[in-house]
Structure formats: structure tokens, C-alpha cells
């Protein structure tokens, strides 16, 4: 079974020494993300996120099912993450790695349990019919920071997705195809975004070195990591720090503050990308766009 190549001692010393001087191999400073690129597909709810060399696809799909008997007013929402050998030959099919588990748990905690998606809005007929939404996350290329990218991908895909209109008369439901009625966006209550910090031990002054958006190389060298999920309003949804080096509360607070600041930028970037896509999609059909808004005069 193939393994990830191990980092040589020279490389390790070089990267760590550089980090102590606030320098990174790719020329960024410690507190900045790589460039995020969002590409949307032909259909709604499909997004391709690139962050440096890391690339993740997310696709939302919906189908009508029966609700769970103990949650009759709620629709269903599942996130599936599966890493295959495409991201790196070290990942085997059908044998999830530790990273796999961490990732799916974190996404679950960040997006599903923070109630980002209002599952009650997915209910069509109580106890009879609900929408079951599924987010498939595909990892195409692994160059570090999969968690943050996957989270951005799922949130963007959810915001981009449109649900077909359903009309209910008594027990019968009609699902209108996209061509017939303009599909509606999902009701997202907030947009949680994950920010992962990597810790590389203490420098000469006893300060913890922490860097944002680590590459695969840096991830292999870090001594601890922490993921903070936060939305643009500064509400912390979850903090995950499983093992690794001990971090003082003060550092943690600083990280949280920095994360809140970064998330605002990411949030704005997603909004801009979505708006641009909307304009592209409705090119030459601006009347249709106006019709959907209530602020226009009629």
C-alpha cells in the first residue's frame, strides 16, 4: 500500500526555521489564506473549490422521502465525504483513514449541528413527505487544509442550490420541474466557516507559532492543530482541538479573534461569487431576475 512520502530532515529544519522567522515556503505570511477560487457547474448546487493546489467538489442533490418517525416535521440532510486515491494514493477505497473520520465529524458538527440549514423548511407534508438533501463532497487534490475547503464547498453549494417548487393539495403533492416554475433557494440560517490553525511549537520568545491554511507539507510537520467554526456575525459554532501540543487560553482567544476576521472575508468572497454566477446564468434574461424581487415596482 502506497504511503505519503516522508519529509526529509533538511526540509523539515528549513520549513520550521523559516516559520520561526514568520516566513513560509510559498511566500505567504502566517495569517493569510491561499487564493480561493470558486467555479460553479451547469446545474444548481454544484461547486468546485480550489485553494492553492487543494481542490474539492461539492454537489447537493435532493429527493422526496418519508421523514423519520421521531422527527416528523423535519427534512433530512446528510453530508457524505469520501476520500479516494484521487486526492492522494495513500487513501484507499473503502478503508477510511483517520483524517476521513475527523473530516466527516467536523463537517457534521460545523454545518449540521450548528443548524446552518433549517431542516424544518424541508418538510412538505408532516409525517408523510419531506425533502432529503444530500451533500456529496469529493476530494480531488490534497495539498493541505481539506477541512476548511470542504466546509466552504458545502456552504457555497447549499447557498447555490435551488429546490424545485412543490404544491400541496390535500394529500397530493406536485413537484414542478425547473422549466415550469423558478426553483427556490434553501433557507440557510447562517454560514458557518471553518478556520484551521496549525501549531508549530514555540519560538525563541516562548510564543506559540500558529499558521493559517497549512499546506500538506506544513501539515506533516505541525505539532498540533485546532479548527474553529465561526460565522460572519462572530458566533462560534464549534472548536475542535483533539490532541497535539498544549495551547494557552490567550493564544486560543487570539486565534478565535483572527478566525472571526478571516471568516468575514471568506463570506464576502462567497457572496460575490454567487452573485456573479447568478448574473452569468441570467444573461440576456434580466426581466426574469427582476420579477423575483419584491422591491421592484409593479
Amino acid at each position: 500500500m502506497p504511503k505519503e512520502p516522508e519529509i526529509s530532515l533538511t526540509e523539515k529544519t528549513f520549513v520550521l526555521e523559516a516559520l520561526k522567522q514568520n516566513l513560509r515556503v510559498d511566500g505567504r505570511d502566517l495569517q493569510s489564506f491561499r487564493d480561493i477560487q470558486l467555479t460553479f457547474g451547469d446545474d444548481y448546487g454544484f461547486v468546485d473549490v480550489r485553494l492553492g493546489k487543494t481542490r474539492v467538489l461539492a454537489r447537493i442533490s435532493a429527493e422526496v422521502t418519508r421523514p423519520r418517525p421521531d422527527r416528523q416535521f423535519e427534512g433530512m440532510f446528510t453530508i457524505t465525504t469520501e476520500m479516494g486515491p484521487m486526492a492522494s494514493p495513500a487513501f484507499e477505497v473503502g478503508r477510511p483513514t483517520e483524517l476521513d473520520h475527523t473530516l466527516s465529524r467536523l463537517l457534521e458538527k460545523s454545518i449540521r449541528r450548528s443548524n446552518a440549514l433549517d431542516v424544518e423548511s424541508l418538510c412538505i407534508v408532516t409525517a408523510q413527505r419531506v425533502w432529503s438533501l444530500r451533500a456529496d463532497v469529493h476530494f480531488l487534490s490534497h495539498d493541505g487544509n481539506l477541512i476548511d475547503v470542504a466546509c466552504i464547498a458545502v456552504i457555497t453549494a447549499l447557498a447555490h442550490f435551488r429546490l424545485p417548487v412543490v404544491t400541496v393539495s390535500g394529500e397530493d403533492i406536485t413537484i414542478h420541474p425547473v422549466e415550469e416554475r423558478v426553483p427556490v433557494p434553501l433557507s440557510l440560517l447562517h454560514w458557518p466557516i471553518c478556520v484551521t490553525f496549525s501549531f508549530f511549537g514555540e519560538d525563541e520568545d516562548g510564543e506559540m507559532i500558529c499558521a493559517l491554511d497549512a499546506t500538506a507539507q506544513e501539515e506533516a510537520l505541525r505539532v498540533g492543530d485546532m479548527t474553529i467554526t465561526i460565522n460572519k456575525n462572530g458566533e462560534v459554532c464549534q472548536i475542535a482541538k483533539s490532541g497535539g501540543v498544549a495551547v494557552e487560553a490567550e493564544v486560543l482567544m487570539r486565534c478565535a479573534r483572527l478566525a472571526a476576521e478571516k471568516v468575514k472575508g471568506v463570506d464576502k468572497m462567497i457572496v460575490d461569487a454567487l452573485r456573479e454566477d447568478e448574473v452569468q446564468r441570467n444573461k440576456g434574461n434580466l426581466d426574469w431576475l427582476k420579477e423575483g424581487k419584491s422591491e421592484n415596482e409593479r
Binding site: D48, R55, L140, S141
Partner: protein
């Protein structure tokens, strides 16, 4: 009505981490496939072959988790590629091929996915520098009953009418379309995915009869005559060895392939 281009969109090496990768978008059905090839790698002991390289193919669906359909697609790919790759050059190793269905009009239809999958895989194998006996090109042809109404914008799919989209409507004779999209494919009476090497030898036949309006789902005795099939085969051979080779050559144009 300007007919859209019939050349697939091919981007080579979109994934920097793998040995060879390719993203392929079918010009007419908009099926997009991404494949990556890694190899020769260390092979698991149970899969090791003393005289050959093991070829592993994984097809990952766009929606949901892999099931029977993906296993079937992977199996077809694996057997077809086995005849192309010179496996004896790297005995006791693994050549790992992963195909991701990025976008498709119908994620459940094998015929719509198969030919883009094959073309994309062959291109990424070339990029990865895997030794191959020859290259192959695959095409999906569908036979529509005579007089089927095909929207103008899809006219360029009809074999023989690529240049002049609005020309004649064939009467009395079945219409053969290439790489149909879902709407056109739904009207087909039979579907044939054929693969030829650039020398013209046949590598794969996947023929299906389609009951009308079901788009390749079930078979209820519409079938095809052998003459009809031979005609389809000849068209496919001509397209694969002519156009297919040309497309591949243009795509690889600037790349150095060993």
C-alpha cells in the same frame, strides 16, 4: 441556427498531485469526467501478479456512494484498458485509475457516461506515461427511428449532418446520432458504445436496445438488425479512427508524450 462545436473540451493535468490526469467534457451531452492515473505503484500482496501490472479502476459517482453501476463501469473500463496497456512492462506493480463523474445530465445512465470515461482515461494514461500498445477512442452512437423530431439545436449530433445543421430530414431511414444528450437519447431505439484503437481494431462493444422513451433503461424487443449494427459499427470506426485520433492529437499537441 449555429451548431455547437463537436470537439470535446479537454484539459490535461488539472490535478497536480497525480501522475497523470485529465478533465474531459463531451461537447454534446455535457458529461464531464475527471480521471487521475497513478502508477506504477506498490501493489497490495493479494492483488500482485507475477508477470503483469495490476490495473485498478475506481469509478466515483457524482451523486451518492458507488454501487453496482459504478462497479460495472469500472469493470468495463478495466477490461478495455487491459488490452491497451502493456502490463508486462511493469510486473508486480499497480496502475491505479480513478475516475470521478463531475457532471452529467443523468447520473444513472451507463451509456451516457461510458464513452467520456474511456476517452478521458486514455488521455490521462498517456499523460502519466504508462506504456501502451496503442491508443483508443470511444464513441456513443444512438439509433433513432426514422422521422424522429430532433430539435434544431441538437441537429449537429446527427451523423452526416454535422456541418449543415438545418439540411434535410431523412425519410424512411433510421437516424444515427453521436454522443446524444439525455433528451435525444430518450427517443433512441438502440444505443451502441464502441471503442476502436487508432489502427481500427475493435476494443469494446456495448450495445443496448432501448424501449421508446425510456432512454436506455429497459429492453422490450425493439432491437436491431445485424445490417443496421454493421452500419453503426462502420460509422463508429470511421469516427474513432479519423476524428477521434485527430482530437487526441490536437489535445496532446503541446505535451510531450513518451
Amino acid at each position: 441556427m449555429a451548431s455547437a462545436s463537436l470537439t470535446p473540451e479537454i484539459s490535461l493535468c488539472p490535478l497536480p498531485q497525480s501522475d497523470g490526469s485529465c478533465q474531459y467534457t463531451c461537447p454534446t451531452s455535457r458529461t464531464t469526467i475527471l480521471t487521475s492515473v497513478n502508477g506504477p505503484l506498490e501493489v497490495r500482496a493479494k492483488d500482485e501478479l507475477p508477470n503483469d501490472a495490476t490495473i485498478e479502476v475506481v469509478v466515483k459517482p457524482g451523486v451518492g456512494v458507488g454501487g453496482v453501476r459504478e462497479t460495472r463501469l469500472a469493470h468495463i473500463l478495466q477490461t478495455t484498458l487491459k488490452s491497451l496497456i502493456l502490463t508486462t512492462h511493469h510486473p508486480r506493480t499497480l496502475i491505479q485509475i480513478v475516475a470521478q463523474i463531475v457532471q452529467s445530465e443523468d447520473h444513472t445512465s451507463i451509456p451516457l457516461l461510458l464513452s467520456p470515461l474511456l476517452n478521458c482515461t486514455v488521455l490521462s494514461l498517456l499523460i502519466a506515461g504508462i506504456p501502451m500498445r496503442t491508443t483508443g477512442w470511444s464513441i456513443h452512437l444512438a439509433v433513432l427511428p426514422a422521422g424522429t423530431d430532433i430539435p434544431n439545436k441538437n441537429r449537429n449530433m446527427i451523423v452526416g449532418q454535422e456541418t449543415d445543421g438545418e439540411a434535410m430530414q431523412t425519410d424512411g431511414e433510421d437516424v444515427v446520432v453521436r454522443n446524444p444528450n439525455r433528451a435525444v437519447f430518450a427517443k433512441a431505439k438502440s444505443s451502441h458504445t464502441l471503442t476502436f484503437s487508432k489502427e481500427g481494431e475493435m476494443l469494446l462493444i456495448e450495445s443496448l436496445e432501448c424501449s421508446e422513451g425510456k432512454g436506455g433503461e429497459s429492453a422490450d424487443g425493439q432491437g436491431w438488425e445485424i445490417d443496421e449494427w454493421v452500419k453503426v459499427m462502420e460509422i463508429a470506426q470511421k469516427l474513432c479512427c479519423g476524428e477521434g485520433v485527430e482530437v487526441m492529437r490536437n489535445a496532446l499537441g503541446e505535451k510531450k508524450v513518451f
